[in-house]
């Protein structure tokens, strides 16, 4: 329902993270979206072009990794991924899953970028991303 504002938030966070880098092009943005996040892939893809227009992310692709709900089942002694969100019972033993370990994610995982000129090879290195992240976010 509010995928456009989510798209704008992604653009704003990604732009902040890219500050100070000589970015030639952002190829793609990888998001992790849980089944319980309430966010749908199609409307988000639909909004992406509009939200990135005139920004560093213009022309980039949006890659969405869906995360199913995973519950911890005590009787089975296992963590079990669920097929959908119509029941939170363990599919093996039927015990209601009181502990949800995964499925609420709504996060930016990474950006695939091409940096300008000589920096082209260091661009994909991940080790230096920590210190370049704006403080406080």
């Amino acid at each position: 329902m509010h995928e456009l504002s989510i798209a704008y938030s992604v653009v704003s966070s990604a732009t902040e993270a890219l500050a100070g880098r000589k970015v030639a092009k952002v190829d793609s943005v990888l998001l992790r979206v849980g089944a319980l996040s309430g966010i749908m892939e199609d409307p988000l893809q639909f909004c992406w072009g509009l939200a990135t227009e005139g920004t560093l992310l213009a022309g980039s692709g949006l890659v969405i990794e869906r995360v199913p709900v995973t519950i911890r089942c005590r009787p089975c002694g296992q963590d079990v991924a669920l097929d959908g969100v119509q029941s939170f019972r363990c599919p093996r033993c039927g015990t209601p899953g009181l502990e949800v370990l995964k499925g609420r994610e709504l996060e930016i995982v990474s950006l695939e970028i091409e940096e300008d000129g000589d920096d082209a090879h260091s661009g994909v290195a991940t080790g230096d991303s920590e210190k370049e992240r704006p403080a406080g976010g």
Partner: protein, 220 residues
């Protein structure tokens, strides 16, 4: 380039601040969510009125896209009430709560009720710093609402089935409703209320007092 950053991080940080303020002030913040017309305002009207009669200090923030009709309705209780007009936004966010609390002494409150925008989709993802999220579903809406809107019902600490005075007229299947709620949110506390007759309100007030006590103990 790794980022690993929550898309709603700004909201989550503001909500964490609010939660800390509510905890320090010793008040229980309650976020009421439902579809439009499920009876959030009616439940809150009776709640504010009756809690005030027992000497509890209560206040409310109420969200709608437009109009301050609900705030005017709720203010009849005598409690401090503020309207949040979102002008199109489909949910409340933590910064709206922060801005609308300005000037209120939270230390003088026992309960703060936040009536969210009527919507069973978007408010699910936005933490408002509440200690308790109450999802309301009325008997007129059908027993399968929790299955249709699992993210919201899964995020609730309490589910209130409202308008039970109309259950017979709606041929409401109580067992199916309870089963569906528990399927989506195992272990959740379930209330059955009528804001008209007052049914279920004794249990509601008992639950609020118990949760407030638990929150106080956690704080101490």
């Amino acid at each position: 380039m790794e980022l690993r950053q929550g898309i709603l991080k700004k909201n989550d940080l503001l909500a964490a601040d609010l939660r800390a303020r509510f905890g320090a002030a010793g008040l229980l913040a309650v976020n009421l969510v439902s579809s439009p017309g499920a009876g959030k305002t009616a439940l809150l009207e009776r709640t504010l009125r009756e809690l005030r009669l027992t000497g509890q200090r209560v206040a409310a923030l109420v969200g709608d896209l437009e109009t301050d009709n609900d705030a005017r309705r709720l203010a009849m209780s005598g409690a401090p009430v503020r309207q949040i007009q979102t002008h199109g936004c489909c949910h409340l966010e933590a910064d709206m709560i922060g801005r609308h609390l300005e000037g209120w002494d939270l230390g003088q409150l026992d309960y703060l009720f936040i009536e969210n925008v009527g919507n069973l989709v978007c408010p699910a993802g936005y933490d408002l710093g509440e200690a308790l999220r109450v999802a309301i579903v009325s008997v007129t809406e059908g027993e399968d609402k929790p299955l249709k809107y699992p993210a919201m019902f899964h995020s609730a600490d309490v589910v209130a089935i409202s308008k039970i005075d109309l259950a017979a007229a709606c041929e409401f299947d109580r067992d199916a409703a309870l089963r569906n709620i528990r399927e989506i949110r195992p272990g959740v506390e379930i209330l059955e209320t009528s804001s008209k007759s007052g049914a279920g309100f004794a249990e509601w007030f008992e639950l609020l007092a118990r949760r407030r006590e638990a929150a106080d103990e956690a704080e101490a």
